[in-house]
């Protein structure tokens, strides 16, 4: 063993800025903040719904109706779709490789199946909410 082994300096707080791959990784992982925010929003809404009488629920809906929330939801929607949903589907063939004997299911088929299920679930949610 050498007397002074070389340890490559790594900047602990900003290593991810060095390469595009690392930056994309960080953007992907930061979607968890959005997940937490929307869980909190869901809980607040559920608490308003659970109250006696419609006032708190209507107050919750009314509080959502301003430009700041519109901007937030719009940006969050696009960001989340790109960096969570699309990224997750892209990784799906690696996460669940399917094989019958020697024939492997092509990656494109697995990804396409995910998009199809996403479409179905989205349609179901919109139908339940009365949007369609």
């Amino acid at each position: 063993m050498s007397r002074r082994p070389y340890v490559r300096p790594v900047r602990r707080g900003s290593w991810y800025l060095r390469q595009a791959r690392y930056r994309v990784y960080m953007l992907r992982e930061m979607t968890c903040v959005l997940v937490a925010v929307y869980c909190v929003l869901l809980l607040v809404g559920l608490a308003a719904l659970a109250a006696d009488g419609p006032e708190r629920w209507q107050a919750f809906l009314a509080a959502q109706q301003n430009t700041a929330w519109v901007v937030f939801h719009a940006i969050a929607l696009v960001y989340f779709i790109v960096y969570q949903t699309m990224a997750w589907f892209q990784l799906a063939p690696k996460a669940m490789p399917l094989q019958w004997g020697k024939t492997k299911v092509p990656a494109a088929a697995i990804v396409a199946a995910h998009y199809l299920v996403w479409f179905i679930i989205t349609t179901l949610v919109f139908w339940l909410a009365g949007v369609i």
């Binding site: 602990r12 559920l46 997750w88 009365g130």
Partner: protein
């Protein structure tokens, strides 16, 4: 890192990630609709309350919140480590505790809706 050994934690994280990937865009679109003033008819107080009051819906909603919170907690733990903050023990306890408390709160709220 101790994180890699806990396959149960990872399993819940992966389930939450799959769930949120499929479900949350539709949810966010609903929030966007409400924010722009176009309230979907199913989200008025009467229909919404009736929808949440059924037991299968409560079970599904609890599962959604539980898995999503767990996913967010675990991912945030790793994210904090990636940002260079190394107090992993403290962060793990705090984040998983918050996820558990959020899940318990959801269960309590759901049980209170008739």
């Amino acid at each position: 890192m101790a994180i890699a050994n806990k396959s149960l934690v990872w399993g819940l994280f992966a389930a939450g990630g799959t769930l949120t990937a499929f479900l949350f865009p539709a949810l966010m679109a609903l929030f966007l609709l409400v924010a722009t003033g176009n309230l979907p008819e199913g989200l008025a107080y009467g229909p919404a309350r009736a929808f949440v009051a059924s037991w299968p819906t409560k079970a599904v909603l609890f599962g959604i919140v539980f898995l999503s919170l767990w996913h967010a907690a675990h991912r945030m733990r790793v994210l904090l480590h990636d940002f260079g903050l190394r107090a992993d023990g403290v962060f793990a306890i705090v984040l998983y505790l918050l996820a558990t408390l959020g899940s318990i709160l959801t269960a309590v709220l759901l049980l209170g809706i008739h």
